[in-house]
C-alpha cells in the first residue's frame, strides 16, 4: 500500500518522475541527464520541463540521435564517478543502444568489480494507438541480462521512490515508465524525500482467494478486476512486482501460500518472459500451496498493432482477467 503521510500533494505519474529527477539532481552534483530534446523542449513527454533553465546545459545535455553512442558515454561517465540518467525518447528506441547496455554496462562489474551507476529511463507500453514502434514493453529483454536491474513502477508514489533508488543504485538500472499512466494516474505523494527499495514487490490489495501478480499499467487492470470479483464474493489479492529483476520471490510465495491460486498478468509478449519466470518460481517453490493451474494473461506473441480494434484485441483487458478469476475460482 502506498503510504500517505502529511505534507503530501496530488501528483501525476509524470510529475512524480520529474520530482525524483529534480530532487536527485539537487541532492547529488554527480547526477546529470542525457537525451534527445530534453533541454529547451523539456523532453518529448516534458519530464524535464524547466530543468535546463535551473541546472544548465552542462547537466541537462541534449544529444543528437545516437543512442548507442550516448549510452556508451553514460558508462564512461559512470566509471569516472558520475551518475548519468539517460532518457530514451520512447522505450522502443532503447534497442538502438542494445549492445552498450548488455555488453558494456551489464558485464562491467562482473569482470572488474568496478560499479556502473547509471539509469536508462523511458516511456514504454501500449494503449495510445502509437503502433509497433512507440508502444513496446521491452522489460523482458533486459530482465534476461545478468548485471542489469529492471524496474517498472505502477503508481506515482512508487515511480518517484523507485527512480530515486535507481539513481542511487550502483548498478545499471533500466527504468520503464508506462506512458499511458503519465497523465492519467494521480495520487497524493510526499513532497519530501523518500525512496522505495528496488527488488521489493508490494501487496497493493489484500485478498484471500486468488492472487494476481502484475506490474506497470496492468496494475490498474488487476485492481479493477479485483473490485469486480469482490462483487461476486471472490477476494482477490493484487501483488505489484514493481521490480522485474531482481524478482521478490518472498512476497510472491507468501501471497500464494495464502490464496493458493495465481494469475500472472503482464503487457509484455507471452512466451519465455516474466510470466514464465514467475510461474516457474511458484511451481518450483510453492507447488504444495497450489489448488489450481497458474494462469498467464499477457499480450500475444506479436508486435503491437496500430489500428484501434487490433490494439484492443492485443492488450489484456479487465474482462480477460475476470474470466480467468472465474475459471480459477472453480478449483
Amino acid at each position: 500500500m502506498s503510504m500517505q503521510p502529511s505534507g503530501d500533494r496530488e501528483t501525476t505519474f509524470i510529475d512524480a518522475i520529474s520530482q525524483a529527477l529534480w530532487e536527485e539532481m539537487e541532492r547529488d552534483q554527480s547526477v546529470f541527464m542525457m537525451g534527445e530534446d530534453i533541454g529547451i523542449y523539456g523532453g518529448a513527454f516534458k519530464a524535464t520541463k524547466g530543468f535546463i533553465e535551473h541546472f544548465g546545459p552542462e547537466r541537462i545535455i541534449d544529444m543528437p540521435i545516437a543512442e548507442e553512442g550516448f549510452i556508451g558515454m553514460a558508462v564512461g561517465a559512470a566509471l569516472m564517478g558520475m551518475r548519468p540518467v539517460v532518457e530514451m525518447q520512447y522505450a522502443d528506441f532503447i534497442s538502438c543502444g542494445w549492445d552498450q547496455i548488455v555488453n558494456t554496462a551489464a558485464k562491467m562489474h562482473y569482470r572488474t568489480r568496478e560499479a556502473v551507476p547509471m539509469v536508462i529511463r523511458g516511456p514504454s507500453g501500449a494503449g495510445l494507438r502509437a503502433g509497433p514502434f512507440h508502444s513496446q514493453s521491452p522489460e523482458g529483454w533486459f530482465a534476461h541480462v545478468p548485471g542489469l536491474k529492471v524496474v517498472v513502477p505502477g503508481t506515482p508514489y512508487d515511480a518517484k521512490g523507485l527512480l530515486k533508488s535507481a539513481i542511487r543504485d550502483n548498478n545499471p538500472v533500466i527504468f520503464f515508465e508506462h506512458k499511458y499512466l503519465y497523465r492519467r494516474l494521480k495520487e497524493s505523494i510526499p513532497t519530501s524525500d523518500y525512496t522505495v527499495p528496488i527488488g521489493k514487490a508490494d501487496v497493493e490489495r489484500e485478498g484471500d482467494d486468488i492472487t494476481i501478480i502484475t506490474y506497470g499499467a496492468m496494475l490498474q487492470i488487476a485492481l479493477e478486476a479485483a473490485r469486480r470479483a469482490q462483487d461476486k464474493g471472490i477476494s482477490v489479492e493484487v501483488v505489484d512486482l514493481r521490480t522485474i529483476y531482481p524478482l521478490d520471490k518472498e512476497t510472491i510465495l507468501n501471497s500464494i501460500a495464502k490464496t493458493s491460486r495465481a494469475i500472472m498478468l503482464y503487457e509484455d509478449t507471452r512466451t519465455l518472459g516474466i510470466g514464465a519466470e514467475v510461474s516457474a518460481i511458484i511451481a518450483e517453490e510453492g507447488f504444495e500451496y497450489l489448488d489450481g493451474p497458474i494462469i498467464r494473461i499477457s499480450a500475444p506473441d506479436a508486435p503491437v498493432p496500430y489500428s484501434p480494434p487490433l490494439e484492443d484485441y492485443y492488450l489484456p483487458s479487465v474482462d480477460d482477467v475476470v474470466s480467468a478469476i472465474d475459471r480459477l475460482s472453480a478449483y
Binding site: 529547451i40 543528437p64 540521435i65 489500428s307 484501434p308
Partner: protein, 325 residues
Amino acid sequence: MQVKSIELGAKELMDVYYYMRLGRAIEDRLNLLYKGGKLPGAIYLGTGQEAIEVGASYALEPGDVIATTHRDMIAQLPRGLTPREVFSQHYGRITSLTRGKGEDNYQGDLKRGMLASVSMLPNFYPVAAGCSLAFKIRKEKRVAMAYCGEGATSVGDWHETLNIASVQNLPVVFIVINNGYAYSTPVFKEMKVANVADRACAYGIPGIVVDGNNVIECYQEAKKAVERAREGGGPTLIEAKTMRIRGHAGHDPATYVAKEIIDLWTKRDPIVRFENYLAERGLLSEETKQNMINRINNEVEDAVQFAESSPYPDGKEAIEDVYAA
C-alpha cells in the same frame, strides 16, 4: 530500359507539379483531421519539402526502390502510393497497405519499389543499401534510393552504410533532407560540419548540396546520381537544404523556432516557385492550375471518404502474419 532524360518534357514537368500539389493537399487534410481528433495516431508532415520529396524520387525508374522515413510520404507518391492508401493507413483501416498494423507513413509495397520503413532512424539506410547489393549480385540495372533527415545522420548506422556502400560500390543514392531541426534540436547541436554532404569525403563518394526548394535542381542532381549508380559508378550523397515549416509532429507547435524563420521559408514555398517556373515556360495558366487543384481536391475528398467508410480489421488479425508461411 527507357529512362527519363535529365531535361524533363512538358508532360513530365506537369507530373512533378501534380505530385507536389497532391502531397501538399494530402498533408493539409491530414493536419485538419488530426487537429479535429479524427485520426487515432500521430502525423509527421513534410510541408515545404515537396521539391526534394518529389524531385529525387521522380528520378527513379520502374524497378528501382525507395526507402523513406516518417516524414516522406510525398516521396512515395511518384512510386504510385495513392491518396486512398495514405488515408486508410492513418485511419487504421483494413484497406491500408499494412492492413491496420502499421501507423503514419510507415507503409510500402515492394511491387511498386517502396519499402515500408520503421521509426528507428536511419534503419532503412542499410536496408536500401542491401537492396542495391542484391541488384549488384544479380547484375540487374536497378538502383536503390534512401531518404533520411539530417538528424538521422548522427546515428552510427548511417556512417556504416555509406562506408560499406562505397567499399562495395553499390548502386544506391543517399538523400539527406536537411530541414534545420531534428524534433526540437537545431542543426548546430547535431553536428559541427557546415554541410552533411561534406561527410561524403570520409567515405570516398561524391557529396552534393542542392537547393531543397528547387525541384528542378533536386531532380537533376538525383537523376545524375541515379544513372551513375545504375552504370556502376557507385553511391552518391545528396544533401537538400530546406526547412521544416510545421512542427515535428501534429502535437508540436514548434515554439522553439523563431517565427521570422518560418515566415521566411514559407515565402520560399517550393510549389509557388515551381509554378512560376512553369508559368514562365507557358506550361501553367491560372486555368490549368485551378483544374489541377480541383482534380486533386476531388481525389483527396474521395480518399478521405473511402478511408472513413472502409472497415477496420478484425481484432483477431492482431496475431496474424507474425511469420511468413
